[in-house]
């Protein structure tokens, strides 16, 4: 790879169920202002020597904003005047992926990436229903919850994964979130609380899933190796990126597999030179909106073999005191909005490697994995490998 790419600043808002007094632009500007202050950078058109942000990427979707060209409406908060801006229609992790590509292409040097979603302003489920094929799937009223429930039962029945093993994921993530000041809903819960919580779509209960509504935003700045060393003494290198798409129809694949995650992971690992993830990765921030997904994605990420997600969970490797903690931040299960969730994983992974994670810091973490996905049952996955 001819150029190296570094994260030089990260910021995020507190994730809340309803930031009702703040408009999209106000919420988005909070982390943007923080990363500008952290780096002292401004936009290229405002600098004398041209050393500034020359590209802006967002990850928004029209249905969540209720307007076409969704990023256009907060352009003046993004600082897009006279700038190159684009919007990735998918999860924030794909926007970071595209930022790395833009820098590797040599066409841009410094990319600001900002994502904002206010789920409180509309019905996220109604938007999810529009994701499905309009001829064969949408008429059934499918959304991410019902599709994920089909995947959960398929995975759990095929490999004997128990609801208790899934519940442990919720218990652990909600507990981790207590050390994360940005988390929306940390909880002290037990496996029994999860099992007894209201059943939304069997086998997924209320505490098996993320908080239904979440508002928030995050921002980060990527730049080249040469500029990164001028801006910060803690550049975080993105050494591996990979993404992949799977087939759309729920019946086309065995939902207990996650082939597109396996392929995305292979691409990211080969680029970063990783052969044994459990040894070479110190901390992982994985996107899961339902508890079974952390177990299934662990298999796709190569942390354990097929069907061994449950056992991997019980071994405790992914516990905060384990060899490779997963989601010290509490992850999406503690509350992240769609589109922002994947980028929040990158922001958290970078915060860990910068040693700024405070109470949730994984001591001596040198390499981290961040993962995001788009689509029901994880149709498209994106994996990034970060190193100190």
């Amino acid at each position: 790879m001819n150029r190296k790419v570094a994260i030089v600043a990260v910021a995020q808002t507190k994730y809340e169920a309803n930031k009702s007094s703040l408009w999209q632009g106000d919420v988005a500007y909070e982390p943007i202002e923080k990363v500008l202050q952290q780096t002292g950078l401004t936009y290229q058109d405002r600098t004398k020597n041209g050393f500034g942000i020359d590209r802006i990427l967002t990850a928004g979707e029209d249905h969540l904003v209720g307007r076409t060209c969704n990023s256009f409406w907060i352009h003046h908060y993004l600082g897009a005047y006279r700038m190159s801006q684009d919007n990735i229609s998918g999860d924030g992790a794909f926007a970071v992926y595209h930022g790395v590509i833009d820098i590797l292409s040599g066409h841009y040097d410094t990319v600001l990436i900002a994502t904002i979603t206010k789920e409180s302003e509309t019905s996220r489920a109604a938007a999810e229903n529009c994701y499905f094929d309009h001829i064969f799937l949408q008429p059934f009223g499918l959304d991410y919850l019902s599709a994920s429930a089909l995947q959960a039962r398929r995975y759990m029945s095929k490999y004997g994964i128990s609801r208790e093993q899934c519940a442990q994921v919720a218990v652990r993530n909600r507990a981790n979130a207590k050390n994360n000041p940005y988390a929306q809903e940390p909880l002290d819960i037990t496996v029994q609380d999860v099992l007894k919580s209201e059943m939304l779509a069997s086998p997924i209960s209320a505490l098996d899933s993320k908080p239904p509504v979440s508002d928030g935003a995050c921002a980060l700045i990527l730049t080249t190796e040469e500029k990164a060393k001028k801006i910060t003494d803690k550049p975080i290198w993105i050494d591996g990126i990979g993404n992949c798409r799977d087939s759309h129809y729920l019946g086309d694949r065995d939902l207990s597999d996650c082939d597109s995650l396996v392929m995305a992971t292979k691409r990211a690992y080969s680029m970063a030179g990783i052969t044994d993830p459990l040894k070479e990765i110190d901390v992982a921030e994985v996107s899961e909106e339902y508890t079974y997904q952390e177990l299934l994605w662990s298999e796709g990420l190569g942390f354990c073999g097929k069907g061994e997600g449950g056992k991997f969970m019980e071994k405790g490797i992914s516990r905060m005191s384990g060899k490779m903690p997963i989601n010290p931040s509490g992850g999406i299960l503690a509350g992240n909005p769609i589109g922002v969730a994947g980028m929040a994983r990158v922001v958290e992974a970078a915060t860990q490697l910068r040693g700024e994670a405070g109470a949730r810091q994984v001591e001596g973490a040198k390499s981290a994995l961040a993962h995001g996905y788009t689509g029901a049952c994880g149709q498209s996955h994106c994996v990034l490998i970060l190193r100190k």
């Binding site: 008429p139 039962r153 779509a201 069997s202 129809y249």
Partner: protein, 151 residues
């Protein structure tokens, strides 16, 4: 004019109510008309990898072959997974609880998403055999099949 006391927050409500009409296209229309007119379920078979795609598709996802041959499949199959929906959304076609499942129809290589009916949700198990129940008044939609019932 700067902020004195916390003030009232004005909220704007924008409503959108519009009917889209999605073109099914040649291949997908055939799938729907076969159900509507002949109570038959057809898939398309790939000449290269012999996968039978149900519901009928125009391109083989795995090898990008144009699918030229319709193949009739049975209206009976095996439940590979299911879920009992207990929550309600405005776009759900019926009130909770109702059962969504993926059914591997005999002769098909891919699963077919549909409802399960005429059974108590507790009795449904993965691997159960079911068969399609067609509505009388069929209008050219996947919902022309009412649901699949256990056999």
């Amino acid at each position: 004019m700067s902020a004195a006391a916390p003030e009232e927050i004005l909220i704007s409500e924008r409503n959108f109510d519009s009917i889209f009409s999605y073109t099914a296209g040649t291949v997908r229309s055939k799938f729907l008309t076969e159900i509507r007119d002949n109570k038959k379920i057809v898939g398309t078979k790939c000449r290269r990898c012999n996968t039978v795609w149900v519901p009928a598709r125009s391109t083989c996802v795995k090898c990008f072959e144009s699918l030229k041959d319709f193949v009739e499949v049975s209206d009976r199959g095996t439940v590979t997974t299911y879920t009992v929906i207990n929550v309600h959304q405005t776009f759900y076609p019926m009130n909770p609880p109702f059962v969504l499942a993926i059914i591997q129809l005999d002769g098909a290589d891919t699963g077919f998403v549909h409802f399960i009916g005429e059974t108590d949700p507790e009795d449904i198990k993965v691997g159960m055999r079911v068969s399609a129940v067609f509505k009388e008044d069929r209008k050219g939609s996947v919902l022309d099949i009412k649901y699949f019932k256990p056999i």
